[in-house]
Amino acid sequence: MAHVHLEDGAISPIWVLLWWAVAAALIAFALYTLRHERTSVKRLTVGAMCATVGVAAFMVTIPFFGGLHLNLTPLIGILAGPAIGSLSVLVINLFSAAVGHGGWGVIGVNVVMNLVEVMIGYYAYRSLRVSLRAGRFTSGFSAATLALVASAIIVVIVIAVAGIQDSHLDEDETARNLVFIAAANVVAGVIEGFVTAYIVVFIGRVKPDLLEEVEIRRGEANMSVPAAAR
């Protein structure tokens, strides 16, 4: 598997509540931002479509290392932006929990991990494309890989600090036990980085308006055709 989805009972109730609070605060901030921007039906529809493809992607197993599935969260960040992308990952996690692809109680921590991927995906891609004028393939690959590698490392830190419920190991021992998972996730992140790069290049060719929002420079927005996702 490319990504760790914690199941219910993996972390203790205190940590469950703490991560729910962090996730709720981040989602509330995203909702506040959207209300400020006066969310259009189109933006919500685009966010829902991103969430839909994110959930449907679980059906597809890529035959590497016994099979892995893609997150597509950095790509969702690039296409939908951080605010709508945040809502999309929450919806993905709700549907995933409904079918056992991650737990209900740990939606908080799973959402925070995905939000990290969305944010890094969006801002890294934007920085590379707009500031450094890098190509779409390079930007897509770098942004997605960076987001997923960072997420893989943060997952280990989060679990090591919270501890696996009922385990008697300390933080260091827990972290050592999770190195294998982190390594597997880093490899999977690089593979997803390439897939994301191909997708971004393809979308840039056939539907470049989807990338306008993330690729356009501040101040140029009014001089251009409105982005599809706006």
Binding site: M1, V4, L6, E7, D8, G9, A10, P13, L31, L34, R35, T39, S40, V41, K42, L44, T45, V46, A48, M49, A51, V53, V55, A56, A57, F58, M59, V60, I62, F64, L70, L87, S88, L90, F95, A98, V99, G100, H101, G102, G103, W104, I164, Q165, D166, S167, H168, L169, E173, L178, F180, I181, V195, T196, Y198, I199, F202, I203, V206, K207
Partner: protein
């Protein structure tokens, strides 16, 4: 449209909808609010309870609930693969490193690698917890009709969130068909024979590219159609779901008391309560 799923390890959304809309079991007739509250309490219980016997009892009750709903047990076993895989990948190393009595072991160079009783117990608890929640969650979602989901989502989520959630639910049917069709096309052209990381990565990049572009095209069409019919971001609620009845209230109350006892036992019991 092929209308079928590509994996045996995830429930098909059409199947979930079919059981939810057409089912006539006792569980289908239970108030959706009651089932939603009980789901929350089951999640809380398996998170708080640490005794394996108690966890097994909770799991047995969730399976009984699932069977009572007349849902397919054989498919449920296939759907268990993903949660079990998640748990095993997370704690496989703990089976060997958790302090406890050795069950079986061997020498690996200068180090001894051994499966411990506490390591196995840890994995067993996490698997049982995950399966209990998955079973009850599936039983809940396969027995609540779409109109009821709409009402509950609109009542419990902010408007933008509820709209996105409900649109995603509706879009899932076409998106899974879209992906399935692309995969069918690739397999029919011997795409499954493609070997090598570079070529396969490019192939799957193409699969998801098409899925995204088609999805966005559809999103644009749908949003225009919805706006032209007066949709302003508030999802229309066609059916009101009344609150839990007396029996539902009693069931939720009993479970809440059990949860409270479990919390007291866990956090205050050792201090002499």
């Amino acid at each position: 449209m092929s209308g079928r799923t590509y994996t045996k390890h995830m429930p098909d959304v059409r199947m979930i909808a079919q059981y939810a809309e057409r089912g006539t079991s006792v569980v289908h007739s239970i108030n959706p609010w009651t089932k939603a509250f009980v789901l929350i309490l089951v999640v809380a219980l398996v998170t708080v309870v640490t005794d394996l016997a108690a966890l097994l009892a909770i799991y047995a009750l969730t399976v009984a609930f699932y069977v009572l709903a007349r849902l397919p047990v054989s498919l449920l076993i296939g759907w268990y693969a993903i949660p079990i895989l998640f748990v095993v990948t997370l704690v496989i190393m703990f089976v060997f490193t958790e302090p406890g009595d050795e069950i079986v072991g061997f020498e690996l160079g200068s180090r001894r690698v051994a499966v411990t009783d506490n390591g196995l117990l840890l994995m067993a608890k996490l698997v049982v917890r995950a399966l209990a929640v998955v079973t009850f969650s599936l039983a809940t979602f396969m027995t609540i009709r779409y109109k009821q989901v709409v009402y509950i989502a609109c009542k419990t989520m902010p408007a933008a969130m509820a709209t996105m959630f409900l649109l995603t639910y509706r879009f899932l049917f076409v998106a899974t068909d879209e992906l399935t069709n692309i995969l069918d096309t690739i397999h029919s052209r011997n795409g499954s024979l493609v070997k090598g990381i570079a070529r396969q990565t490019r192939m799957f990049g193409g699969i998801f590219s098409h899925a995204f572009v088609h999805a966005f095209d559809r999103a644009e069409r749908i949003s225009k159609a919805m706006e032209s019919r007066g949709f302003d971001g508030e999802f229309p609620v066609a059916e009101r779901v009344p609150g839990p009845g007396a029996k539902g209230f009693v069931a939720v109350s009993i479970l809440t008391v059990i949860l409270a006892v479990a919390v007291i036992d866990r956090y205050l019991g050792v201090k002499g309560w």
